[in-house]
Amino acid sequence: MNELVFFLNKVVIAGLIIGSVYALGAVGVTLIFGILRFAHFPHGDMMTAGAFVALVLLWMFPGVGAAVGLPTAFVLMPIAMAVTALLAVGLDRMFYRPMRKSGVKPVVMVMTSIGVMLMMQGLLRLFAGTGTRQLYADTDDKDIYRIPLGGRDLVITEPQLMLFATTIVAVVALHMFLTRSRMGKAMRAVSDNPDLARVSGISIDHVVRTTWLIAGALAAAGGTLLALDVTLKPDLSYNIILPIFAAAIVGGVGQPYGAIAGGLLVGFSETLAVFNWSVLLRPMRPYLPEFIEIPAKLAFVPTEYKIVVPFFILIAVLIWRPTGLFKGRVNN
């Protein structure tokens, strides 16, 4: 039993959590990828920026959370999302729109986005320094639920629950939005064929703006929740941008459900890869014949190779399904 709880804690919950983080980042990436058709590298920094906005808000209104009984940063997150959404639109105005107007190829957009990413990194460090910070006001407390199950406890924390819930809501809402709403369909139309979209009366500027608003808001949510769960550092999201991209792509570019599938796939492959299976075997010790020895360590790969596993699985999935789990879009 203990062992099973251990498994739940270390594989299932951990995988779900990190998978949710990736998924929440990946929905934004996949949206921009699907509609504007380029890989938006500063997304990680947009997440960080969103979390910093939340931090600033937290300084301004430290008491809000205590009043509601939730972490202040979470309560203030909608405002942070709005601010970051505007920031995203501003970035587009300044950097991407001129490029789009001159009709550049997607790869040039990618390079521009790399430039923007570097600038954002510089600015974040300039204004926020390089240290780590907490997204908790003094009055907040990080609730940790330990659900006793006999021996070991099942551990889950408040921000993790919030993270998980937000991810599900965000992904489902986005999918509904894209497939059901008029604006959502217009967004897909623009990505399919911008000229024809204009001819149908769709304003590209409007669509692009909406895309950035959503992407910015999602990024802020992802960044804030991640920072609540871990810590806030200027390079936090920059370091997870790779798995986020992996999740977006393996899920299928432009597919919100793909993002969640990809995120969980990457998340679980990370936790499963290094999980020590002998933990689960140990209770069976009495029932096994003598000559079988249970090694102390029985994992797919040693922890130092952990980073390769998601990529390995990724490649395997792509060979099996060349455009991702959810049949993603193919850029030409």
């Binding site: 008029r182 369909k185 217009a186 897909r188 139309a189 399919d192 064929n193 000229d195 024809l196 979209a197 204009r198 001819v199 149908s200 009366g201 769709i202 304003s203 590209i204 879009r329």
Partner: protein
């Protein structure tokens, strides 16, 4: 007063001008047909009218209002609708979504129009959930035309609407065009099936090298031996 009046249009895609003085005018309930050799600038003329390229000289007046270089999304609101020659569907969206996008600017209910399109083109009804990119060439063409009909425009621009359609649907399209026109919609189309098109045109325009070469009623152009020979595939054996 003409519904549409393009006077002496010049313009191009950034390099040398493609259009060197094109003039086109049609009345509110007329059908206008543009014919000419490949690369004459027919499609470019429609694009210029629809704000997809910059007009450097000349003026476009629609219904008394100057609309030169107006953005396409605004022109749609003015009551224009356009079927491009190429790339005229949203490939990853379903047939029905393509039609819905045609009605994007409408805030009222347009369900009946979708059903009407399915009536015109029964094959589409079976394929309503299929992505338009997976359709056959002719089926795509049907979607493209259906999409343009969704706004119930006052002026319909069609760039080779019958290309790729079987004779049966070609006939169907021409019938539809006549019917729509009878209901008071102006039509301006480019056609390579020029004889059939000119036969039902009130006004015909022959373009070559980005300029008007002949202008007249449809019947006049059909009767002109010079036009027939150089632009309509010539001789008596086809008449």
């Amino acid at each position: 007063m003409p519904l549409l009046e393009m006077t002496n249009i010049h313009g191009g895609y950034g390099g040398a001008n493609i259009l060197n003085g094109v003039s086109i005018a049609i009345e509110a309930n007329q059908i206008g047909v543009i014919v000419g050799p490949n690369g004459a600038g027919k499609s470019t003329t429609l694009k210029a009218l629809f704000g997809l390229l910059t007009v450097s000289e000349g003026s476009i007046v629609f219904d008394g209002k100057t609309v030169t270089n107006m953005a396409p999304e605004k022109l749609v609101l003015q009551g224009l609708s356009y079927v491009p020659q190429e790339f005229n569907v949203f490939p990853t969206m379903s047939v029905e979504e393509n039609l819905e996008m045609g009605a994007y600017v409408r805030r009222d209910s347009f369900r009946h129009l979708i059903d009407q399109v399915y009536d015109y083109f029964p094959p589409l009804k079976d394929k309503r959930r299929q992505p338009a990119g997976e359709l056959s060439g002719g089926q795509r063409q049907m979607v493209a035309i259906g999409r343009a009909l969704m706004t119930e425009p006052r002026l319909l621009l069609l760039d080779e609407p019958t290309a790729g359609l079987s004779p049966r649907y070609m006939g169907e399209i021409f019938d539809r065009i006549i019917a729509v026109n009878k209901a008071g919609v102006g039509i301006l189309m480019v056609e390579q099936n020029a004889r059939q098109a000119l036969a039902l045109a009130h006004r015909g325009f022959v373009l070559a090298g980005g300029q008007n070469r002949f202008t007249g009623t449809g019947a006049e152009l059909l009767a002109d031996p010079e036009v027939a020979k150089s632009f309509l595939g010539g001789g008596a054996d086809h008449a």
